[in-house]
Subunit: 414 residues, 2 copies
């Protein structure tokens, strides 16, 4: 293997170094880095693309910026001509949870799996070139395994090794039951890599154990072992918990430029650099400059964050939308005025409406209790005036402006 | 369930008690006895036979008296009209050991499995009525399971439960690896009972865990649970280790009347009653009488043991052979003379033969070193004269008698 280095031309060697600098940027762990370098070197020398695998849960196709940490990394590989293997774990999705205890693992129909895969594809298209992506469904090979095949597979791993997985270890320590079928999910993920002959598998750090299964089984099946590439988990807008839909601390990649920009501005300062590193398309040089300038005080954190917001909007809505979102933000939040464009709703109801009913009726807030809380927190303005009375009766008229929180505006038309 | 008792006639009730007395005789553990009683009661009332399962390893068809402990128990069920389900575990046999580490679990071909099953059948025929036995091969259903079925099955048991099996627990404690596929052998055995809808599964005490798997899975699949019936393991002629071919402490059910009788006489006195109980066809009343008479001193242990030997020979070779074996034993061992019938071999070799070559050539002993040892131990006689010289040259002639040990005789014909 090592002999590959001797055969590289100086130019090829430079190219390997360049690619490695890109790939290692932001990655939390690469197991092992040396093997990645050898794979890249061989690929450069033989002009043979590497196969980069990403496994996807078929049941959760809502994509937010937390997911783009790995997607951006995949994009980098793609930019260098490597092949992306998207693996939809539909086999497990179709089985569901045989014990019926896990709500998360509900059984999916073929149609749901297809629909979810399509949703992934559409959303991923905002980060990657989907024409150059291979799409795989693991039911294709897993559903063909019979009992004997399964036993052969199970013969290639020990119980002790499986119990090393953090969550298993923890449950054993707590005396919580592990159903035997659960041992098979890491086996499947590993076997998928055997079938796909993946060179690299990407995932969040929470996939550490499962991705190493790929290495284990590839070796047992006499194949070249994949490299595990683990990306950090991105904290959400709260700065504490992993970004997720259920925690409501996310920026969805389908959101409007204004929402995206506004949410980006609410990221805690400490996380800014991490966001730059993990979810933007800036080059290593640009990143270094931002870090240096922030450290030296040459770049104000507020300006850096505005650049972050603008960059995110640019990535998902284009240059023009990014400029506009920035301008709008400056006019509303920095100058204290309203945005230039406010959505208009046609009002067909009563001439006078209790403020709480109005807020819920216009779907500015989800419930009366939310509306009450917002008024209590002085977050509701009618025509620029703070509402302080819960019982306030709003007189409806054309061009009435209703504002909730910092970023939600509506203009009434009658 | 309990209501079955109220519906039984007095006569039926007596019949249940009679059957229960037979079945519980000699059984080490019945889990649970109450369920067995209910099953027997229902069977008597509804005139519906019970299904009694015995699982067999397809790789070891050499049957000795150790095996007949369960076979005799099956015979008792059969005598009362119940159905015996012999289950050949050919699925595991065909798979072998996927890790290749277990020599015992070598992969068998279809032909070997068939041949071994036939051997079982022939040999079991000496204990049971094979016309009334169902023969099943678990590959019939196990080979049809696909990965999804396996996962559904695995979802019905926890890892903790499997790790309770003594040998797993021990290996975990010693840090010895358990390959994941090993967890599937008890699952298969349990699933076999689901398919066969067995009422009772018989086995040695070493099958405790595996047989309870049948109860577990039958319940999970919504079926009536089988009763586990565990028979003691029979110590071999050495009185210490479990009777087995590899330990050479066994009495094979294919052996000659003389061998059987002679070996029976070498059983340690302490084990005699256990042998009577577990491997003979004596009635509970006969057994009680033997125990009582031995305890009171009315029956001499030597006489009891001779009756044991005679009973065993009668069971496998008939009344006449039993009488003859006893007579012969008395004449040789008690009176110190030769048996009445000595096998004759035709001699075609040299007129003078070194004694060691002769013993090995006639297959009286397996090797020259064994022959030397036997001469050293003064166990070789030619025409009644002890051979003491290793180099002794035997002059071959008609009716020359060669004796090795206490029981092997040959008469030369020229």
């Amino acid at each position: 293997m090592e002999s590959v280095w001797k055969k590289l031309t100086e130019e090829q060697n430079k190219e390997v170094k360049r690619q490695m600098a890109t790939y290692t940027q932001g990655a939390q762990e690469i197991i092992p880095t040396e093997e990645l370098e050898v794979k890249v070197a061989k690929s450069v020398m033989e002009k043979k693309p590497l196969k980069i695998k990403l496994g996807l849960d078929p049941s959760a196709p809502d994509v937010h910026l937390g997911h783009t940490v790995v997607l951006n990394k995949l994009r980098q590989f793609q930019d260098n001509g490597h092949i992306i293997q998207l693996l939809i774990g539909d086999f497990t999705g179709k089985i569901g949870d045989p014990t019926g205890k896990s709500v998360a693992r509900k059984q999916l129909t073929d149609e749901e799996v297809k629909h979810n895969a399509k949703t992934y594809f559409e959303q991923f298209g905002k980060v990657m070139d989907m024409d150059k992506v291979e799409l795989h469904f693991n039911s294709k090979w897993l559903s063909k395994l019979n009992f004997e095949d399964v036993i052969q597979l199970a013969g290639k791993i020990t119980v002790a090794r499986l119990m090393e997985r953090d969550d298993f270890e923890e449950r054993i320590a707590l005396g919580k039951p592990i159903s035997l079928h659960e041992f098979f999910y890491p086996l499947m993920q590993g076997y998928d890599s055997v079938v796909l002959e993946s060179d690299i598998e990407l995932g969040g750090t929470d996939q550490h154990f499962n991705i190493l299964m790929g290495r284990h089984f590839q070796e047992k099946f006499g194949k070249e072992k994949q490299v595990a590439m683990l990306m950090p988990l991105l904290e959400g807008l709260d700065g504490v918990e992993k970004m997720s839909k259920s925690k409501k601390n996310y920026i969805g990649i389908d959101e409007s430029p204004q929402e995206m920009y506004g949410k980006a501005m609410s990221i805690p300062d400490e996380l800014m650099v991490k966001y730059f590193e993990l979810i933007t398309d800036l080059s290593p040089e640009q990143l270094t400059k931002i870090k240096d300038d922030l450290a030296s005080g040459e770049l104000h954190p507020r300006d850096a964050k505005m650049f972050l917001g603008k960059t995110i909007v640019r990535m998902y809505h284009g240059e023009e939308a990014a400029e506009k979102a920035e301008k709008q933000f400056i006019s509303v939040f920095q100058k204290g005025t309203m945005p230039e464009e406010i959505p208009v709703v046609q009002w067909e109801g009563d001439a006078k409406v209790p403020v709480i009913d109005l807020l819920v009726g216009l779907k500015l807030l989800n419930s009366k209790s939310e509306a009450r809380r917002m008024i209590e927190n002085k977050g509701v303005k009618i025509d620029g005036e703070k509402v302080e009375d819960m019982q306030h009766l709003v007189t409806m008229k054309k061009d009435l402006i209703i504002q909730v929180g910092k970023r939600k505006f509506l203009r009434i038309n009658i």
